[in-house]
Symmetry: D4
Subunit: 207 residues, 8 copies
């Protein structure tokens, strides 16, 4: 494969046959499998056909883990329950990459005491993924306390002038913290993939 990580399958629009063949091919190549954005019927089909497959209905992912030796460490931070699907997609992606990952939920901007309580869990991470909807202020707040890269994911959560994630996206792009980069709205997979790549570099380079 091209990039050091096996191909991931983006499920929307794929037939069940195509999905199952995709997983079969990855297994034949002795690789971890990941499918994202699975519909219920897609998820159930993969789970039925591949005994070891883990189907997370909230993350909408199916994953098969051949190896599980962890390297590097990434935290995923989010403000509330509504951003969970995106945060869990990120978590499943990091597990599939064999990166040690922890999910810290309920870390809000307007209730900063909640953040100060978990800050110590972030300071030894290689990279942090921050998932936030509405005004998207969380990455700025978190990044100010950290010296590692922060990958921000705006979510389509919110109403009115949230405009389906645009408010959060603009907030994150304009973050006054220098260590923040941004991915597409709801792109939990992409943020995790990049964070995982960063976390594994020291390991990779020594080998």
């Amino acid at each position: 494969d091209r990039c050091g990580y096996p191909e991931v399958i983006y499920a929307p629009g794929k037939s069940l046959e195509a999905l199952n063949e995709g997983f079969q091919a990855l297994l034949s190549a002795n690789q971890n499998c990941l499918a994202t954005r699975c519909s219920e019927s897609q998820g159930e089909s993969l789970k039925k056909n591949f005994p070891g497959a883990i189907y997370d209905t909230v993350a909408r992912t199916v994953r098969i883990q051949l190896r599980d030796q962890r390297a590097g460490r990434v935290a995923i931070v989010t403000a509330g329950t509504s951003d969970r699907p995106v945060a869990l997609e990120a978590l499943e992606t990091l597990r599939w990459m064999n990166v040690e990952a922890e999910l810290l939920m309920d870390v809000g901007v307007a209730g900063p005491q909640r953040f100060l309580g978990v800050k110590h869990k972030l300071t030894d991470c290689d990279a942090v993924v921050v998932v936030a909807g509405m005004e998207g202020a969380l990455p700025s707040v978190v990044a100010g306390w950290l010296s590692c890269p922060v990958i921000a994911v705006p979510t389509s959560v919110g109403y009115g002038a949230a405009f389906g994630g645009v408010a959060a996206l603009l907030g994150m792009l304009n973050s006054c913290a220098s260590n923040v980069a941004v991915v597409n709205i709801d792109a939990g997979f992409k943020a995790a993939y990049l964070a995982g790549m960063i976390a594994q570099r020291p390991t990779k380079q020594q080998s």
Copy 2:
């Protein structure tokens, strides 16, 4: 006058004659005077013609204060040097309203320790004005610690996807704090006017 406060003069497009007549009329009615968005020639003209006039070149305001018995207390919070013109317009407006006002600059989102150092100055305010450009996250952060109304002013400061204040405006409208309302981009006058009105209510009602 209509609303309990004398009329304010919005200077753009007004001739020097019209401006001077406006101030003369307010003085004849024994009222404090305020002109906002003054050009340099407008400001100099008013200063020359009215000895007691205070011309703030950064705020772009001219003010004459007949009475100065303060009532109520409002703080103006801002993140950095670039938002100063808008913050000073708010400050001058509050002074003109005879409201006690304090300006707290350099209170940024990404360096939260700076905020924690000034928090005690905000807890006894009747209302707080928060001025912020770029991602506009400061009102959310500040409002989470306070139990009084927060009036947020997005500024046109920033570049690229700041879109002349749109990013900050959207961020503030989507604030996850419940005690935040928003005014137009760069509308330091409006935020201060509303905050001042809130601050003076207890006084007014007792009289």
Copy 3:
């Protein structure tokens, strides 16, 4: 709690269990309860489990009122029947805050005689919430007659170039009245929360 008012529960995405536990916790702390944006099944569940709970199906709120000593006074003004869900969310919020609240519907811009007939009900309010969709001109019209803060709520009511509330939002941000601040589209809760905070300040300060 952080701000002098108990926490409000934003229902979307919450399980019935989580909602019921939330209400139970608030009652244990001897506080009024409020849940907003409840789905029908959420509303029915809370109503069944908490005998004193008031479920307003148009406002989409569930409320439990432990104390009902009113203080301060806020009016909610709206133009027509379509803005009712947002106006009722505001009304329920003010009741939950123990603020005296009155709803004045059918006050339109294009039929100004209707407004002149109710004007006297607004002049002694501590704050006024104005709810309007389409062109969002009502706050400007109302605020011109008043000397108290006006909190404007744009609604997503309208079609075509109303753009789901954007036209009303922009109209309100550009109001030529100085005593108008704005909250997010359809954010009846936020406007009422801020107006209620303003209305109770004189009381709070005396205590």
Copy 4:
């Protein structure tokens, strides 16, 4: 000519020669002349070459009036000094069409008493042109009292979320009054042309 009115010259980008030839051709055809959006040098050139030419530096128009028998009646209503250039372009256009026209300035939304004082001047008009920037609420307010067509012109006056006239444009398109149609931002000429056409119909049809 095609439409019953002589051709109007839109000056931007035209050479002085082309402008002067245009006016000469209209005069040879024994018609009133009008050039809009003239730069200073364009205006001065036409004024020097055509003795009867009226150059209005605020409206940025040059006009030659061969006949002046008025028919029909149109009022132009505006809120303040900043919308004057657009309102005057409309006024000059109506004069050129030989329509009786009156300009009513300082009729604001937030100070409705000012409007009630001039209402009687509008009730016998054939059409009313309303010019307004910022939130563009004035047409809705005015149209509610009238039974003739209202042509609304949004102006690019304002700052921040006025977005160069977009807020006013959207407000006017969403007017809850049924007798309001809209033209382009700053298009004083177009609104006046249409209002003048309406005002002259009864006359035209009798001839």
Copy 5:
């Protein structure tokens, strides 16, 4: 009533009771009735309760015509089958106003020969309503041949960069014809109301 025409009922969000009472009130005042944007159940209810009511399922209107003496003449021009619901709403509105109205469909921009064939039907109109989606070029093309006011209605018909009527709206606002004014997207009622007002002026003024 305020404007010389009876009130029209905008049906969305109204209960069947409210609708029926509205019609009853208009009949008691001896006036023609019109309800727009009726759902199927609303339309069927009115039709059942009021024997003379005409329910047009494509226009989504219900109308009762007490008097039918026609005055004035308006044509409605449209490009194709998809704009029919908006065009028929305009047609029903004009009938309700007792204005003579004709609908000319299938008049497209890209097949101009179709337009040239019907041009003679437009030249004696008092006003013309042009309904068009997609690029909204039809009003410009039509208006170039006419000397009466053209009221343009953009429709939400189209796909992709039609953006739900925005492309048509912008095209119409920027029409290089001077005799075109615009109403909201899909606002067939508003365009017809204004055109009908124009068409009836000569009659009204003679009485």
Copy 6:
């Protein structure tokens, strides 16, 4: 070179040295030269250094023509004087490509008789470039009469809701004529390049 045509030099940001070297290199390769978007100093420099260079100050192009045997035929159609710079950039590009090109100006939408007078000049073209600002309706009108590809160029000409060419761009993308494709706003070069490529295909294929 890569595509059958020599490289074109896009002048903005290039030093005079770089521009002159670019032309020298093209001449050494025995190719026609073209630079677009030249500033005055860039244009004058090239003209002085290359005796045969043709500098068109309105098109802002500099061109050197080594060969001039024409093949294929393209017409450029435009509505008025303001679109001339873009139309001339297209004309210069076609000359540089050795394609026979004719510019037809003053062909407007609202005065369709002007178009019918020149239609016969378009029917034998291989491709037609249509340049239009404001509402951008001209390509739809023109394309309806033709059986060859039409390449539409929106221009930034216009004011208000023209939004710097966006209205014209959207109009053209939504053209109801099937034989219209679109290039970037003001991209006269690109439209001409594509039209020229089409015009020369028959020739190229026979060789």
Copy 7:
């Protein structure tokens, strides 16, 4: 017919009767038939009534081919499975035009080796249609290797900041390749129609 190709039927909003009559009329005129954007019931109806009709359920087209002598050659290039419906609409359109057409799928930007493998199939085309969603970079990449016109179709495929095809549309309009023109989002028909017109020119001109 007007343009050398028979009229195509755009199915949305057409009754089954109207559709069948349309096909019957085309057959009577001895022409190939094409209907685009057919719903399932529309497609099934045409297929049942016209024995030779080919209904492609993914392309959503119905086609009847009277003649099949191919002339010219067009390739359709696309990046993945999600853009298939648009690509197949283009393919069916080219077949209906009697143009030789080939569909090359799975040619992505980020895996350029896939493109290099199929490049030789493109170099002898008369025109190439490139269909791409998300960032819309494929036309730029493909066009750099080709010397024929490239017609780019943005698709509404993608999520978040893809904004229903806007990101792809903007990317294609700004392509740094000179030989790219663009059609509306999802307009596979239009791109193919234009490409087919280009491909058949040499043939047409020789006859």
Copy 8:
């Protein structure tokens, strides 16, 4: 300092005194200095007052380098001359961070052979910064060949539908490559800061 790197000074709006004091403070703390977005007078002042200061007039940066032991390796890739100021700001930032950095210009999308020639210089980088305006396709093309993080910077270079960098920004956010994250338009500093942080991690962790 907060993040392991000394504070960077954002020059706009800062007085010469403030800038000089800022540099003096950094030097006293024995740290490398960097000021970005310097005006000419700001740059000259710093250069005059600090002998070792390097003022890059294209990057608009001033830098003082106390230590120069390089660690890690980052490449900056760009398509053309117009993106140079942003690329050079990134280069200066990496030098200030003591990261080995190389600038590869003229690597365009439409001329892919240019990219293939430099690919070998990218494969051993720790991170790659890609700077691109107009359609912003370059990061997708580059990232497809690499297994390290790619930080994409959209630039405001382009015209028409480039919309000051919005087209490039959207293209990059929708990149179909998984290893791409994005920063604000023209934010060369931010991209470099993040890339530098990634590049130095292995070193930092070993220490």
